[in-house]
Point group: D2
Chain length 343, copies 4
Amino acid sequence: MVVVMAPGVDEAQVEEVSTRLRLMGLQVHRTDSRGRITLGAVGDLGALDVDDVRHLPGVQDVVRISVPYKLASRAFRSESTLVRVKDTVIGGPHIAVMAGPCAVESEEQVEQTAVAVARAGATILRGGAFKPRTSPYTFQGLGEEGMKILRRVADRHGLAVVSEVMDTSHVAIAERWVDILQVGARNMQNFALLREVGKTRKPVLLKRGMSGTIEEWLMAAEYVLAGGNHQVMLCERGIRTFETAMRNTLDLSCVPLLHQLTHLPVVVDPSHAVGVRDKVPPMALAAVAAGADALLIEVHPHPEKALSDGAQSLDPVMFEDLMRRMQGVALAVDRTIGPSSAS
Amino acid sequence: MVVVMAPGVDEAQVEEVSTRLRLMGLQVHRTDSRGRITLGAVGDLGALDVDDVRHLPGVQDVVRISVPYKLASRAFRSESTLVRVKDTVIGGPHIAVMAGPCAVESEEQVEQTAVAVARAGATILRGGAFKPRTSPYTFQGLGEEGMKILRRVADRHGLAVVSEVMDTSHVAIAERWVDILQVGARNMQNFALLREVGKTRKPVLLKRGMSGTIEEWLMAAEYVLAGGNHQVMLCERGIRTFETAMRNTLDLSCVPLLHQLTHLPVVVDPSHAVGVRDKVPPMALAAVAAGADALLIEVHPHPEKALSDGAQSLDPVMFEDLMRRMQGVALAVDRTIGPSSAS
Amino acid sequence: MVVVMAPGVDEAQVEEVSTRLRLMGLQVHRTDSRGRITLGAVGDLGALDVDDVRHLPGVQDVVRISVPYKLASRAFRSESTLVRVKDTVIGGPHIAVMAGPCAVESEEQVEQTAVAVARAGATILRGGAFKPRTSPYTFQGLGEEGMKILRRVADRHGLAVVSEVMDTSHVAIAERWVDILQVGARNMQNFALLREVGKTRKPVLLKRGMSGTIEEWLMAAEYVLAGGNHQVMLCERGIRTFETAMRNTLDLSCVPLLHQLTHLPVVVDPSHAVGVRDKVPPMALAAVAAGADALLIEVHPHPEKALSDGAQSLDPVMFEDLMRRMQGVALAVDRTIGPSSAS
Amino acid sequence: MVVVMAPGVDEAQVEEVSTRLRLMGLQVHRTDSRGRITLGAVGDLGALDVDDVRHLPGVQDVVRISVPYKLASRAFRSESTLVRVKDTVIGGPHIAVMAGPCAVESEEQVEQTAVAVARAGATILRGGAFKPRTSPYTFQGLGEEGMKILRRVADRHGLAVVSEVMDTSHVAIAERWVDILQVGARNMQNFALLREVGKTRKPVLLKRGMSGTIEEWLMAAEYVLAGGNHQVMLCERGIRTFETAMRNTLDLSCVPLLHQLTHLPVVVDPSHAVGVRDKVPPMALAAVAAGADALLIEVHPHPEKALSDGAQSLDPVMFEDLMRRMQGVALAVDRTIGPSSAS
């Protein structure tokens, strides 16, 4: 339920309404936007009489939200959410690029990657420290040490850092070192983890589960939002279908659909979806054309030596070339991407 | 198996080799390209000794094709196939646009559509005369009469015509009236129909089945090619997955994958994939960015009155706007689209 | 719409009502069951006033059917349809078994199979004469000659014959030689073919498409029923999912679901679903436990030499053993199967 | 790699070989079965020379395991694993039944259910205390309090308890109160959680993820086994496919497939797969026929009042009737189920 306060309402009235809603057992999320205050009230609305709320002093209107996700819906918030990470804004006209290796292997590897991706116009460094691996016998990531490496390298190059948390116990560690907490596809419905990242105030990159429906995905985002963390990005990374010619099927049609259903920014990860290097650029270009707000791309200084997912990593030269070509497509859809925006 | 003839081989030697291959029970498909002759030999190669063929006079090399589709593979023919329909070439740098209503309803409706799509830069008119409908109780199309309407209208506007055949008995009728024979998604593995269109010399637009794998799709194309009809286009129109938020899941990653595996042009139909009007333009733009050779888009003069699939049809104004935006994306990926190419 | 006539209505009134319905542009399907006459009226009901029909003389009640399949629905006909083929009744308490080779290869092969399956208690001989093959270069079946072999062999052993038709042009041929016309999974939505078999009065075995939903499948059956052919059986043979460890995923839960939604008998084909011999028996037993009305099982006298799908064929010894074990499971769910029923 | 020790080898040699393997960086899992000792060695085998191991004193043979799951494979352990929980053995000829409500709501509700399911022959009480719910706004379970209720009630009726853990932080709590730790479908690849339950010595019921392949599922089991916890059961609960007529598609063919690939017991949960009460019994019967080692069935004393998943819960009368019918099917496949086994 969205309670729209009247223009010029005084603060005491807002407080009064908020308190009343809380006494009804509801969670209240306040938004101040363009001089207008709205209160999102979520929880069990079963017994509530909407008219009681509508007639409270200072209330202009009350709108019921018919979809099961409330805080995540466009009905709750019509303006697009802007996620801010250092100097990067995600969700506006400029398309952000997050790039880096699948797994952090060493400071040297991350340093080489960071130099290359920063030069080409990426502003966020990605890298896995806690790695979800299908087999218990393969490289499982450097853990906290990996996050420290990312932090040091990123700081040297003015980059922000995104890295994955796989368990509630990782969240406090990650909060110390990284700027964006990534929740991976396999954990899209790890509700304990979603609650935990919802308690932080770090932006969250929520990947779509391999068989996650759009609605389940938005409900997963709702867990984070309900914790009071409103900086959530949705990241499409390919879904599991009958087709096995590619690792996954990149569902680009979810981009315009999400833009209709939710105010949260939409990120596309073509690297995990296709799984092979030469198919990443066309899918990255297509993602830009489809309206993605950011891209997550794997780059490795020496893909052939990568400990994880080397086959899908671009080398620095390919990445730079791709950045250049994405600029053209971005312009054609009235967006910008990469260093051109710095001018 | 591809038999590469030596440069400057004389015609008698080519004939001699062809005859020998036929005597081994193989079908022979000859290609003359850039002054080089190759003979594709398909059939049961079990008993064949490749060296016997390699040593025939005039033969330079023999290459085995390891994938189950032979004539459709890049190994058989490294150059991209160009499909020619009237003045339109599909498979080269210019991206063709096929547009029109889902179903032919009347000459007036087709006329209005044709005027609009031709003005905006489409060169091929689409329209269903034989309609595959889920229910036996809904409008089943005008049949041959619908094809005649398409022909008359297209001729008035210098357009080519593409229309669907659903049964072997439709093929002779369609040959009379249309320029491109469409085989629909539900008939991708209707092998009798594939054989029948393979006997004609009309270009074929082969849609991917709702759960057709890339390999099955190429094998379906192989049925047409094996009949001697080499003008085949593959059309992605969305696959069936667990996700039902959209009608189907448009698998754009198949575009670069097909370009690697086959020399046949790749067409994308965003209208059937997404099923709702406002999602068609972003997916059309993404298809261009991903490398599609042509687009198939539903346009109806009055979508709200359409007898079939009105919800996914663009009106003429939306279509014209989309054509303009596709030009920008096409330029960014070194292609052209629409009327600009005429200049 | 189902028009229920009053008990003891006279024939003239029935004719009168039928005519009125036809004049409204509807198709009328009459059912006489347990002394009660019902008229199923299908077509465009948009303009119809149900009360006009309800007040016609002799009419007791009129029931609208809310699902898109009408004649196929339980609402149209609450009693289960019994399909009769020679001495076999499908849809009653006895479970029928259809067995034989994937493809007819020779009279000797079919003869050996027929002897074995008849002895073990099968009453219907299956065998492919027109074969849908993924590749144009593999064995495509013996065509009409294969059907003649099936007929001769079946007649020698008192068996009925089921065999596939792939194209409208096959139907007249098949009508001459076989007892049940099979429409394969790839043709579930070949609407021209469905109409053609709907014109015959031969029982139809309609396989579910690889990605056919339950509703699409029932709509496909509706095409046959709407042609006046009411002897339709639905055959589950595995659907296409992300899981590739088996050829297909056998969806046994469709059996009780179909029994709720439709009056048509449900057949299960475990052989095509699993694709490997040793998984066929447990799935056949599970199908019986789930409530299947008949089973379609591949049996080959020498599976290792089969021209098609040998890997999934049982040999006669395995088949006989399976028949014995199915009897136990059938008894546990109050059904019978195999020769025991003859006693 | 499996190191098979010679018959009658002395303990010192076994120790010597184990130590050598550990020095190579491998994990060693010892099995004593039928007087034969085998050592499973897992980890990075890249640099290892198998012949070095084969020639160690006391070693009879060394077998490489070609599948990625090692400890879970039949190659590692040919005998079926028996999981023991109180008086129940899972994996032998008797089929175990786990029954109870989706969510623990109150002691009274659990008590009523326990009385009913124990009387009908179930020996394990199921009930959710930590509940994975799609929405953050719905009932999330009673947590530890729910587990205490399960424990108290189960002890009064001589039942064992299975309940779900959703996060690493739940494991220590659950160890105190329940007999079997359930890892739910959404957490099949929550690797941190799998490692944590692998550290306990409580039997683990590992549900298949909604889009988990057989291989990924066995790799998830491998995480638990690699921790030294060998009491793992695999539970099929329906997979996500294009078909939405049922909540999920129950993949019963995985039962015989798993019995071939792994020595771990296979459990089937028909309730979550079908999602509607009246389809549970036929699928439970089919699961028994397909070879399931145990069943997990939702039972609620008053399904219409359940806080979670009431629509799929059987009431006590339906459950008792189902138990009786399952006995017949079990006998037909040479198994037993329910109280009959006590006689």
